[in-house]
């Protein structure tokens, strides 16, 4: 495997290309994704206004999500470029922020990698930047609370795996539904078409979802050892004195606040 095979224009991914959805469907999915993205942009604007330094961290997070999604991961059929970023991003940055970062990532993927189209940007944003992150975050919180009694390492690994696995499956289910609505089966209707698409995609997506889960666990394990402070601030790790789980996007603010604190003491 050469560098260009690890990182480049890659084969299967779950981005609906340009022109595959009829214009009305594309517009409807854009309208469905819009409230989430607008909400995310509002909270981002508020945060940036309160703390201009947040912008740089959000830019870094956006770039991180893009580069992760451009990575090709080892899979059953050789390699596949895939949004490893969705599950991890949702856990690290929370779904409202991910609605914005995910949409930005999708825009750059369409412009720089030709993954996904511009007319289908709304449809892809709905599956990858809205449903994926919320499903991932839901699974993460659920497994985290279910395993609250087990050791921190096991609980974290299990919940991160659940987040990445379910984000991948959630995304592919929504994409199948979008394609089924656009191209219903003459006999079986939308349900029939959904079964057809879901079956085809599940051949590649279920193994990929498992591998994606494993990789995401590996990423978070490394982060717990090298970047523990960041994870505690982002609310992923339980600190010894647990802050309320509602710290949400204050994460980035906390980071910059601490940096300034550091600067003033030096």
């Amino acid at each position: 495997m050469t560098v260009h095979e690890v990182l480049e224009i890659g084969p299967p991914h779950m981005h609906i290309p340009e022109g595959l959805l009829p214009p009305l469907h594309a517009a409807a999915w854009t309208a469905a994704a819009a409230p989430f993205v607008v909400h995310g942009v509002r909270s981002l604007t508020r945060e940036v206004r309160a703390n201009p330094d947040t912008k740089l961290l959000l830019g870094a997070a956006g770039a991180f999500c893009f580069v992760l999604s451009a990575l090709k991961i080892p899979s059953a059929t050789g390699t596949s470029s895939h949004p490893v970023g969705v599950g991890l991003g949702a856990v690290l940055f929370r779904p409202p922020v991910m609605a914005v970062l995910g949409t930005i990532t999708l825009l750059f993927q369409a412009l720089l990698l030709a993954h996904g189209g511009l007319s289908t940007l709304g449809a892809n944003a709905f599956s990858l930047a809205v449903v994926g992150p919320w499903v991932a975050y839901g699974a993460f919180r659920l497994v985290r609370s279910l395993t609250a009694r087990s050791s921190e390492g096991l609980s974290l690994s299990a919940s991160v795996f659940a987040a990445a696995f379910s984000a991948s499956l959630g995304t592919y289910t929504v994409t199948s539904l979008q394609l089924a609505l656009a191209h219903p089966d003459p006999e079986g209707g939308i349900v029939g078409a959904f079964v057809k698409y879901a079956t085809i995609f599940s051949l590649t997506q279920i193994p990929i979802a498992v591998i994606e889960g494993l990789i995401t666990v590996a990423v978070v394990r490394i982060l717990t050892s090298v970047s523990r402070g960041d994870l505690v601030r982002l609310g992923v790790l339980r600190p010894s004195a647990a802050p309320p789980s509602g710290t949400r996007t204050a994460t980035t603010t906390a980071t910059t606040a601490e940096d300034r604190e550091k600067g003033s003491t030096e």
Binding site: V3, G19, G59, F66, A110, A114, H115, L118, D185, E187
Partner: protein
């Protein structure tokens, strides 16, 4: 830089205003989406290929970049060949081949117009104009910062991955998963670290929350806009004439 961005900077059409290329490619995209696939999609494809030749888009790159979306198009059009839920569980759909061909033709033509646009217009040219739209300033700045950091981080990822591959990090699937995890971890740490250092550097130079860059003024010439609008209008006219005559 991704191969697409590199090609966009080298493109002969770089010097035209993005709006001109937007009118051409957007118009052709609208034709592909709205006109009947025959002869609409075919005409759009011909117009796109002619334009790509005129812009001297490298043909090899065009094929390589088009491969992934077209594979998805084929995978999505193939299920139209069969039908489920009838008397038999799975049967060949009546007229399925025609429907699949229509969907594939329309989507392929649309992908072509997108590729023509991205292969002739660098993202930086677009971002500079994004600031003049009515989008929230904070959003525009985060988008611009993401773009600025993305290329450096992409290079970092390539270097780390090449180092890992050199140490047989992707030799087996097990090692591959571990290496990919390590790569993701290192990218997170470095992206945050770089943002913090950038922040300190900017603060020292009196950062007010605005990163201004010089944008080369490119006037939008009406002649160019008219020339860009001509192919989509011609495609639409031919397509409608075809429909009227039959």
């Amino acid at each position: 830089m991704t191969p697409i961005d590199t090609a966009a900077y080298r493109s002969r059409w770089r010097r035209y205003h993005p709006a001109v290329k937007g009118v051409l490619c957007g118009g052709l995209l609208a034709c592909a989406l709205l006109l009947p696939p025959w002869p609409g999609a075919a005409l759009v494809a011909v117009a796109t290929l002619a334009a790509a030749t005129a812009a001297r888009v490298p043909p090899g790159l065009l094929v390589r970049v088009a491969a992934a979306p077209l594979l998805f198009v084929v995978t999505s059009a193939a299920p139209l060949l069969v039908t489920v839920g009838g008397p038999e569980t799975l049967a060949w759909a009546e007229g399925g081949a025609a429907r699949a061909a229509e969907v594939a033709a329309r989507a392929s033509a649309a992908v072509g117009t997108q590729l023509l646009f991205v292969l002739t217009t660098p993202v930086a040219d677009l971002l500079a104009r994004l600031a003049r739209t009515r989008l929230p300033t904070a959003l525009v700045e985060v988008v611009a910062l993401t773009y600025q950091m993305l290329m450096v981080l992409l290079r970092t990822a390539q270097r780390v991955a090449s180092g890992q591959a050199g140490r047989l990090g992707y030799h087996s699937r097990r090692a591959g998963v571990r290496s990919a995890g390590a790569l993701g971890g290192v990218l997170f740490v470095r992206s945050l670290d770089r943002a913090r250092r950038l922040q300190e550097g900017l603060a020292c130079r009196g950062y007010t929350g605005r990163l201004t860059v010089l944008v080369a003024e490119q006037p939008v010439r009406p002649v160019e806009l008219a020339a860009a609008a001509a192919p989509p209008l011609l495609v639409a006219a031919l397509s409608l004439a075809h429909a009227a005559l039959l």
